[in-house]
Amino acid sequence: MRRFVGIVLIVIAVITAIAGAGLAILLGTDNRTATGPHEIETNAPVLVTRPDVLSWAGPTITLTVEVEPGQEIFVGAANSVDLADYVATTHRTEVTDFRPPWTIETEDVVGENRLPIAPGKLDWWVARGEGTGSATLTVELPEQAFGLAVIAIGGGDLGGMRVTAAYELDGGFGIGLGMVGFAVGLGLFGRIAFQGRSMVRVADETEDEAEYAEEGERW
């Protein structure tokens, strides 16, 4: 039984060590990894993510969106309830699925070619960025239902859009190293269990008797 437990602990330790080392290597000392630029085909003035696409909380992402030079764009992050209401009647491309580092599926939704109000006038954006030709947004993915939007401002569309995404995990490099350290400790336990050695060292009886004898002489 102890051998079996030892093997299990060693296997877990190896997996944890690989995952931790992978995380540390992936993120590097700046706790950050980037992918892109990736082209997204669309002729809509708006691109949004569906509520269930960003289903994880915690990491900080930085999106840099590039479009045709001269086209003004807005990049925003908001609660999905706000976003869904805002773009409800607008022609848009919806990101229906996303798998990191960068695999996406999109769907075109017909509608009007303009939004009811300019995005910059709204107060519910959690994070936002604007620019001509490109714009950047940095946001920590929150617990609430959440979506991202890229909007062509002042007419025009998002043709030629390219997106670069950077994922940042605060302390990610340290967490990776920590996982490696934990794996080492776990592996040691596993090795001890596998070898069938006791966790507590029992003193040798003859040594003990000799010590008592010496102490007895002193008394």
């Binding site: 109000i117 239902a145 995990l169 340290g174 967490i175 934990f182 966790m199």
Partner: protein, 319 residues
């Protein structure tokens, strides 16, 4: 042994640190809590500023930014009365309003709304107000503002595990003596019926006060006075901690004066009737009011009771 224990503790600590890695979101789905306390304070600050400006100008136009529906109609009516009667002091212009509590439900679509319990220190009243945002592209507007006395005990609200209010479907009587809409309908029916008729609501101070007003109007000689109450559709109802419900209802009231031939009505100077129906009336006069009522419906059995109200004249015609 100690060295091995140290390794285990360090490894455990690192594992705990690892809990900060990306994790699935909470299980509340696509929802939003309308406003935090800080957001509600900011919304209320804007409301105070705009309302103050409207009162100083005696002009209801700015109010349309921050009020809507029956509240706007009531406040605009009060301003019209003040303006037409050239009152030196605008209504409510000495209010000092302080938010006591903010409660917001978790909603999956617009309109979003929240409840603000506000203390009016000058008038010694508690206002239980609802602010609503009709869509993501509009601003916050106050849509209900019933007032209760400080001595009136407001039932504790039922909150979920995220401290969000639990809204009640206005047309369902889940665990209630009657549905929220049925309660407001019952108030209108009671006020339309004679005092001795059977009623499905409590004989509370709101009923007593409104009946008293109607009785006084009926005493005017040579005038046939009638009063008609109509319930409006209930939009806001929330669960109380005891399983009951608090309902924000609106009643529309029409006071009609049919004047006998050869007689006329000349309303007293300074009255709201004079503001809306100036000069002498020889045939017909009609004043229309909105009354917003805060109704408590007890769980299971018992009669609904109005805890507070806010009302006023909003329109009038006569000749």
């Amino acid at each position: 042994m100690i060295r091995r224990l140290w390794v285990a503790v360090m490894a455990g600590a690192m594992l705990v640190a690892g809990c900060a890695v990306p994790h699935p979101k909470d299980s509340h789905g696509v929802t939003k809590v309308a406003a935090s306390e800080a957001e509600a304070e900011a919304i209320y600050d804007r409301y105070r500023t705009v309302r103050k400006s409207a009162l100083e100008l005696l002009d209801e136009a700015p109010l349309t930014q921050v009020e809507s529906g029956a509240v706007l109609a009531i406040d605009a009516g009060a301003m019209m009365v003040a303006r037409r009667l050239l009152m030196s002091k605008a209504p409510d212009d000495t209010q000092t309003l302080r938010i006591l509590d903010v409660y917001a439900p978790r909603l999956d679509s617009y309109p979003l709304w929240f409840v603000a319990v506000v203390e009016d220190g000058v008038r010694d009243l508690i206002k239980v107000q609802i602010f609503q945002r009709e869509s993501s592209t509009t601003g916050w507007q106050m849509v209900a503002s019933p007032e209760i006395l400080p001595t009136t005990q407001l039932p504790a609200f039922d909150l979920d595990d995220t401290d969000a209010l639990k809204p009640v479907d206005p047309f369902r009587a889940d665990g209630l003596a009657m549905s929220p809409q049925a309660a407001v309908d019952a108030y209108a029916a009671t006020l339309n019926n004679p005092p001795d008729a059977e009623s499905k609501v409590s004989d509370d101070s709101f009923i007593t006060q409104m009946r008293q007003v109607a009785a006084e109007q009926k005493q005017v000689q040579g005038v046939n006075f009638t009063q008609q109450w109509t319930p409006r559709t209930v939009q806001y109802a929330l669960r109380s901690a005891d399983g009951g419900a608090l309902v924000f209802g609106t009643l529309y009231r029409v006071d009609r004066y049919e004047i006998e031939k050869g007689r006329y009505i000349n309303w007293p100077e300074g009255s709201e009737q004079k503001a809306f129906l100036s000069g002498r009336l020889y045939s017909i006069g009609e004043l229309r009011y909105y009354h917003q009522i805060l109704v408590y419906i007890p769980p299971d059995e018992g009669l609904p009771v109005a805890l507070g109200q806010y009302g006023g004249v909003v329109d009038g015609v006569g000749y």
